[in-house]
């Protein structure tokens, strides 16, 4: 039950923040990708910088397994990059866009579901493709 509470809380907080930062607006994200949106770039850079400091403090004495480099890391990320440029959405943004009333995001969501399903189908057939599930390391 405790887990449900935190998943819900951070889901709500992440959705609200993304909506209020400009990441859900196609025009904003497009201007970021053509390198004309310094503020949006700074949002990501600030979060990254603070996370670096935060994780350094939290993980002082702990060794956390790091994400593994697989042969899918670069190819998969490049596919994701094209998809992001086309839809203005990453896996969380599509949902936030829907919440904001952008009905067209339903198509992106259906697409994401189909993409995840196809990939997971291919990994059950051939383990070579399996690159793990994010957050489960």
């Amino acid at each position: 039950m405790r887990n449900y509470f935190y998943y819900g809380l951070f889901g709500l907080a992440l959705g609200t923040t993304l909506s209020m930062s400009g990441f859900t607006d196609y025009a904003q994200i497009h201007s970021l990708f053509i390198l004309q949106n310094i503020p949006l770039f700074l949002v990501f850079a600030t979060a990254l910088g603070l996370n670096m400091i935060g994780f350094m403090i939290i993980l002082r004495n702990k060794k956390l397994p790091k994400k593994k480099f697989t042969k899918g890391t670069i190819t998969g990320s490049m596919l994701f990059g094209i998809g992001w440029a086309l839809t203005g959405a990453c896996p969380s943004i599509a949902l936030v866009q829907l919440g904001e009333g952008k009905i067209a995001a339903v198509l992106t969501i259906v697409g994401i579901l189909a993409g995840v399903w196809i990939y997971r189908r291919s990994t059950t057939k051939s383990l070579q493709f399996d690159t793990g599930i994010c957050g489960e390391e």
Binding site: N3, Y4, Y7, F10, G11, L12, L14, G15, T16, L18, M20, S21, T24, Y26, A27, H30, I34, P39, V43, A47, G49, N51, F55, L64, K67, G72, T73, G76, S77, M78, F80, I82, G83, W84, A85, L86, T87, G88, P91, L95, V96, G101, K102, I103, A104, A105, L107, V110, G111, I112, G115, I118, Y119, R120, T131, G132, I133, C134, G135, E137
Partner: protein, 212 residues
């Protein structure tokens, strides 16, 4: 509608969420992983079924371990080891309690579903705070001027989403898992992934903007 939080406040909030998620749930934030867990919801049931006999009777788990040990080393060797251990300590050593779960740190898939539903709720709240919810059938003027409004633009959204879904699974993470959580822990794979997806998105958008 176009008024956003100042960049430092939005960045600080995103960082607060990433770190808070890690501190409370003991795992890095990763939205693409939640999608996978929902699509693979049937696996949860299979794991539960496999674990059920051991949950009801933890002794079964120890018996299974013992059977496997005997099979590997032979009964005599195991007996010798047990005798030597009992002689050494003088008493019957209590076996440490073993966990009966294959995956003790795993959240049920419904928690991930709740997470994604609350992301939608966050969009509602965000739009409300920025001045009101507006129902739109498109992704805005710029998207329309670039891709139109016809069936072609709708297909573009579907296939774009397909690439986002397939690509993030193949890469093992997305903007949150690789970008916010992995990059800041200086995981080389995450740094490479982040440069790959941002780089590709920039190259693609530049081409669409200046050539298209």
């Amino acid at each position: 509608m176009d008024i956003y939080l100042p960049w430092w406040a939005a960045g600080a909030a995103l960082s607060f969420i990433t770190l808070g998620f890690y501190i409370t749930l003991h795992r890095p934030l990763g939205v693409s992983g939640s999608w996978a867990r929902i699509v693979l919801w049937k696996n949860d049931r299979a794991i539960k079924q496999a674990e059920a006999p051991f949950q009801d009777n933890p002794k079964l788990f120890e018996d299974a371990l013992m059977a496997a040990t005997i099979e590997e080393f032979g009964e005599q060797k195991v007996l010798d080891f047990m005798n030597a251990r009992n002689k050494h300590t003088g008493t019957d050593v209590e076996t440490p309690t073993t966990t009966t779960s294959i995956s003790p740190n795993r959240s049920p898939w419904t928690a991930h579903l709740f997470f994604l539903i609350m992301l939608i709720a966050g969009g509602v709240l965000g739009a409300y705070l920025r001045g009101g919810l507006v129902i739109q059938t498109t992704l805005g003027e710029l998207h329309t001027s670039l891709f139109g409004t016809g069936i072609g633009s709708l297909m573009m959204l579907f296939f774009g989403g397909l690439m986002v879904g397939f690509g993030t699974q193949m890469a093992g993470g997305c903007t949150s898992g690789h970008g916010l959580s992995g990059f800041s822990r200086l995981a080389p794979a995450s740094i490479i992934a982040t440069f790959s997806f941002f780089g590709t998105a920039i190259a693609f958008s530049m081409a669409a903007h200046y050539l298209g």
